[in-house]
Assembly symmetry: C2
Homo-oligomer: 243 residues x 2
């Protein structure tokens, strides 16, 4: 059995997330998507539109994880500095890319390709383009870093575009077991023993309390369906004993 | 005028966010809350329930920012390891805290304070408690790190509890200007000039496109209301010139 783990980090770029103006829905979408194809997100970072910060985060993350997925900062305005930051992080040049310009010409008439729009064709040297079927201006892929737009619909289309080309890990399976009616403390000791007995699994307990009642969930995550099923059986047996 | 900047990072701890099971609503709540009281979030990180990862993130963030606000990992189960990680990051001991036990006794009968629940009274040496009016088990505050629960209602109550004790910066003001009907590229050049003319401000452009129409926003953020008003006026004038 192929038990290769493939890891990733998500890097969301933008002052609007750090001021609370914009909800970072992209990161959750990406981690869920990656989880489905067996790629394990180990870290999410959100950084402001400051080149030094983006470069530092890119270099820290790309050294540690198999993939880095960034969102945001590749539009036409002055605060869109992701492409420059990526070029600096990789120590490569950046210039208007004829391939990018060509795909943008499918959408824009030459006279509408003003300076701002042409900025979106600036791509770090050596990067592959990531197609943008919605508004054409492409993302790109360099080394293990995949640079996507911040607009959710465009980001999602770009992720669909790159997904078949990623090295997938073994799909991570998860099983959620309802532990309704119990406080966490009722099963904490038993669950700790199970977590020790199944070191291959990540076992989490997620409390929820409304209208005077517990609606907790115990979630098991792992790659081997047999081990997962065995552990789930034991969690259910434990809850039955308790209750 | 007091122009002190107060900075913060938010550290969300939990496998459930990194698998996409749980939406990290806490981080957006916190950054928005802090923004309102003049504390500028410069970074958000999400890390898994792995002690080394939590310790490394805590030490990186607490060295760089005035405050670090963590959420998650202070419940009674085996995956709740935040308090231990904080103690290790600060190089201090950790033990059952009589003050924490005392507040928990307000809720639990002594015979209900089982081993799992008592774990929630383990507090790093030297930390101040952060009251939890909802379910009693406290958060804590050590150095510049404020450790809160992951359950949103509890986290929010803890944040209300600590907010009056934080050093506030000058409130950051923001003004959102509708740039409906324009593609970003129409005003990108003009906006860049304004961003250069007003270096005290953070100026962002946020595109939105639905049903064939642009609903972009230009957002200005800064501390001086006069400068903000002047820049907003110039943005409006620019948009008017464009059409």
């Amino acid at each position: 059995m192929n038990d290769r783990r493939v890891t990733a980090a998500v890097l969301a770029i933008g002052d609007e997330i750090l001021s609370g103006r914009t909800r970072d829905a992209n990161s959750q979408y990406i981690v869920h998507y990656l989880f489905q194809i067996g790629i394990e997100t180990r870290e999410i970072r959100v950084v402001p539109d400051i080149e030094d910060e983006i470069v530092a985060a890119l270099n820290a993350l790309r050294a540690r994880y198999d993939y880095v997925f960034s969102t945001g900062g590749i539009g036409p305005t002055h605060d869109d500095i992701t492409a420059d930051a990526v070029a600096r992080a990789f120590g490569v040049g950046i210039a208007e890319d004829p391939r990018a310009l060509a795909v943008m010409m499918e959408r824009y008439r030459p006279e509408d390709l003003n300076e701002a729009r042409r900025r979106m064709a600036r791509i770090p040297a050596g990067a592959a383009l990531v197609a943008n079927p919605i508004s054409k201006a492409p993302g790109f892929w360099i080394g293990n870093v995949i640079v996507m737009a911040g607009v959710p619909a465009v980001m999602q289309a770009m992720l669909d575009e790159v997904a078949p080309k990623l090295v997938h890990g073994v799909k991570i399976l998860s099983e959620a077991i309802e532990a309704h009616g119990f406080p966490e403390s009722a099963y904490a000791a038993g669950l700790r023993k199970l977590a020790e007995a199944f070191p291959q699994l990540s076992i989490g307990s997620y409390p929820s309390f409304r209208e005077g009642k517990y609606y907790n969930q115990i979630v098991l995550r792992g790659r081997d369906p047999n081990i997962l099923a065995e552990a789930a059986e034991q969690v259910r047996a434990m809850l039955q004993r308790l209750g």
